[in-house]
């Protein structure tokens, strides 16, 4: 890959500030890594709470991601295409779960789906089930996907869609064959963020789904439970989660680069 002409060389204060933040961000993770010996990590992997929690986290977060991508991509498309103050208000409203404390979202979910909730009379019995874990993850993580996907789809040149339509493509076909491929890097980026947020979900899950090993106790809840018993076990389990998440996010980043359409100036390679 050729070097861009303008390299991002920043001398002086910019360099100090940037590297300072980098160290600040990585130091706690490094401390987590240094806190556990390989033996402790091995023991943490075999802690009775870990494997059920890791499995539960993996499959619930995968389903959550699937739900968000399948339903969120059309929503992001609508939000990207819509004009006017109402559209902006709705776009902002769907981002609210990012700001609202997750534990409050958990209470809000109980107020909707709980025994005495708005939909409690419909016979939907969600709390204390893995389905509740997924609901909590979707509500808390979906905004991260929507934000990135809406921005990515908005950047798609409308002229290209117009061309596709004049060539006889239906709106759905133009969306699936033109907008989605062009917005794919943003969709993958949003999906990675969404998945990461779902894996780390704690507050809403604890309030809405409770914490029961193998049923609703995801990794963050297992770490919290272990914290009460033994700090070292908790940090070791947390490190296991960090390694799994890092690997997955790194792969997603690779996929994103691979999917990125060549930029206009880089057409040669």
């Amino acid at each position: 890959m050729s070097e861009p002409v303008l390299r991002s060389r920043l001398g002086g204060p910019g360099l100090v500030l940037g590297l300072g933040l980098l160290v600040f961000l990585l130091l706690p993770i490094a401390a987590l890594g240094l806190a556990s010996s390989p033996g402790e990590l091995w023991a943490a992997l075999h802690h009775p709470l870990v494997l059920p929690a890791l499995g539960l986290t993996a499959w619930t977060s995968a389903i959550s991601l699937l739900v968000v991508v399948v339903a969120g991509t059309p929503l992001a498309w609508m939000l990207a295409r819509a004009r006017g103050p109402w559209a902006r208000a709705i776009e902002t409203a769907v981002e609210l779960p990012i700001v609202i404390p997750p534990a409050v979202m958990g209470i809000a979910l109980l107020l909707v789906f709980g025994q005495r909730g708005l939909l409690g009379g419909l016979g939907v019995d969600l709390p204390f089930t893995p389905a509740a874990v997924i609901v909590a993850q979707v509500v808390v993580a979906a905004p991260f996907y929507l934000r990135s996907a809406t921005a990515g789809l908005r950047a798609v040149d409308p002229e290209l869609l117009l061309v596709a339509r004049t060539l006889g493509a239906s709106p759905r076909r133009a969306f699936l064959r033109v907008a989605v491929p062009l917005g794919l890097p943003a969709l993958v980026n949003g999906a990675a963020l969404c998945w990461a947020r779902a894996v780390g979900e704690f507050g809403a899950t604890l309030l809405f789904a409770g914490s029961f090993p193998g049923r609703t106790q995801t990794m963050p809840l297992a770490i919290y439970a272990a914290l009460e018993a033994d700090l070292r076990v908790a940090t070791a389990i947390a490190l296991v989660l960090a390694v799994v998440a890092f690997t997955t996010l790194l792969l997603a980043r690779g996929a994103q680069r691979w999917l990125a359409p060549p930029a206009p100036g880089e057409g040669g390679h």
Binding site: L27, P28, A31, I107, L110, G114, Q115, R116, P127, F128, L206, L207, A209, G210, S211, F212, P213, T216, Q217, L221, Y224, A225, A226, L227, E228, A229, L231
Partner: protein, 265 residues
């Protein structure tokens, strides 16, 4: 937000930083506010209401600022072991206090109150639970996770109940358990919201809840002890001693009683 809240927030932020090991560089802004006229109390979460009242009494009587920080006893223990700048520690659990005394973080500890385990049900008692013996009839029971005090005390209650109501009682109850919560307030919340039909909590927590009914368990008599101790590194050990005296005295005991605690045995 009042000025005092801001002060408290800064203190807590400073403490968080120091407990994360970054306190060396940034601790100065956290420590600067701990003057001689400030008492910093770390108290178990279950003591929150009672200690808030006691702290304001103490503040009024002594003319000093009291900074109260509440969390699970285990979390507070970690903060102390990481050098959190505090004067007094009140624990809901003897194990954590003993560990701190043994390691030299806390000078000596004494019992200042007792708790009491009770059964709570949502208001109206939909499952119709009159005694602990009815507990297996509840459809959803919530307990504390075994790692936290409320969870281990609940298991003691179930063991004693097994001896009283016959073998299999504990496993019949455990078959109804839908969630193991990390602290007593969350256990209580699940009943307050009507999600769970029954839970075992401290009477002191049940006293503060409006949407629950309390079923006493006199025959089971699980009474956890609350310990208090002055930190070795206390900046205001004199104030800390005076706060302990307040706790042990009649006025302090009256406040604790009103919040559902018992006197030391």
């Amino acid at each position: 937000m009042s000025a005092r809240d801001g002060h408290l927030g800064r203190r807590r932020f400073g403490r968080l930083l120091s407990s994360g090991g970054l306190g060396l560089a940034l601790g100065a802004c956290g420590r600067s506010s701990s003057g001689a006229g400030t008492l910093t109390v770390l108290a178990a979460a279950s003591l929150t209401d009672a200690f808030t009242e006691l702290a304001s009494d103490f503040q009024a009587a002594q003319g000093v600022a009291v900074v109260l920080s509440t969390a699970g006893s285990q979390a507070l223990r970690v903060q102390i072991e990481q050098g959190a700048p505090a004067d007094l520690f009140a624990s809901a659990n003897a194990r954590h206090m003993e560990a701190l005394v043994e390691a030299g973080w806390v000078r000596d500890a004494e019992v200042f109150a007792t708790g009491e385990l009770v059964l709570v049900v949502p208001r109206g008692n939909p499952a119709g639970l009159r005694t602990l013996e009815d507990l297996p009839r509840a459809e959803r029971v919530v307990l504390g996770t075994p790692e936290v005090p409320i969870g281990s005390y609940a298991r003691t209650v179930l063991d004693r109940a097994e001896a009283l109501y016959g073998p299999g009682f504990r496993s019949r109850v455990e078959a109804r358990v839908v969630s193991l919560e990390p602290n007593v307030r969350l256990v209580l919340t699940k009943v307050e919201l009507g999600e769970a039909d029954a839970a075992l909590v401290y009477r002191s927590d049940a006293t503060s809840a409006r949407a629950v009914e309390v079923v006493s368990l006199p025959e089971l008599g699980v009474r956890p002890e609350y310990h208090v101790g002055v930190l070795t590194a206390a900046a205001a050990p004199g104030l800390a001693e005076r706060f302990v005296a307040l706790l042990r005295g009649e006025a302090g005991q009256a406040v604790l009683r009103r919040h559902g605690f018992g006197s030391p045995a």
